[in-house]
Amino acid sequence: MQFEGEHLLPGQIGHFFVLLAFVASIISTISFFTAGKKTDLNEKNSWLRYARIAFTTQLISALIIFATIYYICAHHYFEYMYVYKHASLELEPKYLLACIWEGQEGSFLLWAIWHSLLGIIIMLKAKDWEAPVMTVISLAQCFLLVMLVGIYVGDVRLGSNPFTLTRNEITGPIFSQPNYLTFIKDGVGLNVLLRNYWMVIHPPILFLGFASTIIPFGYAYAGLQTKRYGDWITPALPWALLSACVLGTGIMMGGKWAYESLSFGGYWAWDPVENASLVPWLILIAGLHTMVIYKATGHSLKASYLFSFLTFIFVLYSTFLTRTGILGDTSVHAFTDAGQAINVMILLFVAAFALPSLGLFIANLKKMPSLQKEESTNSREFWMFIGSLVLFLTSVFIIAKTSVPVYNKIFGTHIAQPENVEFSYNKVVILVAIIIGLLSAIAQYFKYKNTSSAYILKKIAVPTLIAAVITALLAFIYPLTYYKMGAGFLGAAYVALFASIYSVIANAAYIWTGLNGKLKSAGGSVAHLGFALMLVGILISSSNKEVISDSRANGIHLPISGKDPMTKESDNPQENLTLIRQVPVNMGPYEVTYLKDSFGNEKGRRFYELLFQKKDKVTKQVKEQFTLWPDVYIMKDNNMSSNPDTKSYLGKDVFTYISYAINNKNQEEDTTQFKISELGEGDTAYYSNGIIILNKVVKNPDNGKYHFKPTDAALMADVTLVSKDSMHYKGMPAIQVDEFGVNQIDDTVYAQNLYLKFAGVTDNHKIKLGVKESDKLIEYITLKAYVFPYINLVWLGLVIMAIGIIMSAVKRAKLSTFYAAVALIVAGAGLFYMFLLAN
């Protein structure tokens, strides 16, 4: 059949380049590998020439594939499955890039492009190391590109081609018609949760971080392959530093994104996807330190090998965890199951790098040069090594816990996450924070090889004292209030707070007393200072995070007795608060009014205007006010997504999001009358949206709502409403006769816009129930609000750490002052803007 209106050419071009890139990557792997084995210079060079051409070909092909996907997405060619799945007409142009990396194929492509670009730099700069390092990169390219190939080998489809056609992928009656495209009005589009500017920035940075970890791996392999066991450290170290900076920033961008636009209520949740990227970073940091030790003293070579290998292996393992759907129920944002073939290929990818590298490592263990002399406990290298070991073991702990779904799969067990997931990590990690804080404070005051104890004590006395005083003052003025996990954990949090403040002070002091203010060599100290500052921020913001939307304290429907009549409990966290439009409610130090709602640019997006006012207690004058616009996004399939809004102060953030909202439209005057029905117990009446059941009539009720005495003359109708969507609501209108006359106490079911009146009693033991359906709707929203104190310390710490690492990298790579300054200023300003100003 001839189909109308299809644009098949871009797809054919795209798929041709996919195949070309894949073949080129195989050729370049083989050629680089052979070049590395040849000793004859002529032969070696001719293999290298082949390899370079092949590698460059696959880079250019990858760029063309990327451009083609962009082109078909930008033109909304819904005949392509990828476009149909990830793009839609209403999508703003800035999210077109995000469409590309939303899917499996696109994100593998992004990764492959970063590998290729880094590979080009290696080809230009690495000299002797080029062949073995590029062998590793080219091999990784083969695995990444095969994920895009999408050709059948027997019955198994290898990879999934981003240019497959919608009509070939899904079956539907419309595809039997030549003009099927006219029926596909729009694509599914980018997931709403991902429509955020972080989605444009975060994945490329994170993937650059992942991609760059292959270079230390490649150098470590090169060290083993060339038997120049120790020489690779010098060229690999700047790369490892760059990787640590980019990956660390990428991870925290994810945190900032989660904090800004997802309703997690925080920036870190120990979600498996977060853990999977944190673990390689921790190992990388461990490896970085052992490499520095090796350069200075000759110790820790084996550890440097191991950590360099494991960093990339865990990048691959985390790809396996997050891309194969194995995490299933434990993660909110893992990719979903992509099909058996892809799963097997990812597993092969992990195995192809893990087994040979670790095998070579073990085979060469005996041949590696190692110093017989032991490190003194008074040496810097000793404490640095301890620190690296602690980081490494932490990463083992985290990945062991994260891998539980994998054990379940292998052993058929049913182990699930503990009740308090975050705490199960925090209680271990806080101990790590203490150790790392102390080590990063003290270690650099030791000199390599040996240091006299008197010297150390003299140098660290002042920073120790200052840190102790600051911690004590903080404990007094601004105590940590993380009581809910008991005194032990609070104590640990205080020790960790001291350790991290200590590290901030000691590192700042070291720049002056240890390095005499030579900023060029201060990269390490600056990075440690930033890291410690981040720890301080994490400790304070998470332990003093405060829920201000506590409905027990300020709910509009306060229970009369101490216990909530509905929940029968008084001590559970009731963090949602309902706001009726135009009715001010006290929330923490603020009086909050839900003013109005309005539509945003995108269809289905609704912003709620919340006015926060802080009033003077005595004069009732408004001291301060601001407006927040959290929004709710109703997607095409009527699912909702809630995006928070945050008011940022220097010292704290007020963070709020809508946890429940209904759509209301009419806003006219209320003119309806009560409609009277006569009902006996068990009888049913109708209203427009369902039925009303009179359960029973209670005399002198004494319950959560009414407190009549047996001597009163009161009747209450116990009514249940069942709406069409089968929601149940209770209504309790009452009537009371006293010396002043008849007193009717109406009840309201706001959710159904219904007023209930106990209008009277008939002669035949029935009651008159008045029902009024109002067309003046009561508009309300339910929201959650938190105050995060000092969260800016987290972001500031991160930025300082990144700058420190770049300073080190620049020094280790021996860049000229000009390039160094440019790199620092661009990175520093960019990060500072993204994390602290743009909001």
């Binding site: 406990t377 083992v396 699930a416 009740e419 699912n639 909702m640 946890s659 706001y750 309300y780």
Partner: protein
């Protein structure tokens, strides 16, 4: 043995002890409704579906922190669920619900709900087929 070796061994021992001590009691299990009923008061994970024949009770004005509904699982178990929090907006449309909490006398006291909604499974072909068929219907 070198000092670093000793430290390494000690550190690994500490890690193993930490993993066991900190985590042994720290895991819960996936249960069916009937097996969870046998473990009253134990924190478990339930995988179930919303029972659409029973009412969902939630009135944000009366109490934004009280939701109750019924859940059924594939083995035929059924339980009332109470979730003292706001109603997840897609509850009615969910295909599967993972609930964390404890079984109590007459209900499942739920601490956390994870919904599996059709829309989140963009890669699910069946869903795409449904979507594309709907588009056609709306075009006619």
């Amino acid at each position: 043995m070198k000092k670093t070796h000793i430290i390494f061994l000690i550190a690994i021992a500490v890690l193993i002890v930490a993993l066991i001590v900190f985590s042994a009691g720290d895991f819960s299990t996936y249960e069916s409704i009937s097996s969870a009923k046998k473990k009253q008061g134990t924190f478990v994970h339930l995988i179930a579906k919303l029972d659409k024949t029973e009412p969902i009770e939630y009135d944000a004005i009366k109490n934004p922190n009280y939701l109750s509904f019924y859940a059924v699982d594939s083995l035929g178990g059924k339980t009332k669920v109470i979730f003292r929090n706001s109603k997840p907006t897609d509850l009615e449309k969910s295909e599967r619900i993972v609930m964390k909490g404890k079984m109590e006398a007459d209900h499942f006291e739920c601490k956390d709900i994870l919904l599996k909604c059709p829309s989140k499974y963009k890669d699910d072909k069946k869903q795409l087929e449904k979507t594309i068929t709907n588009q056609q219907d709306s075009a006619y």
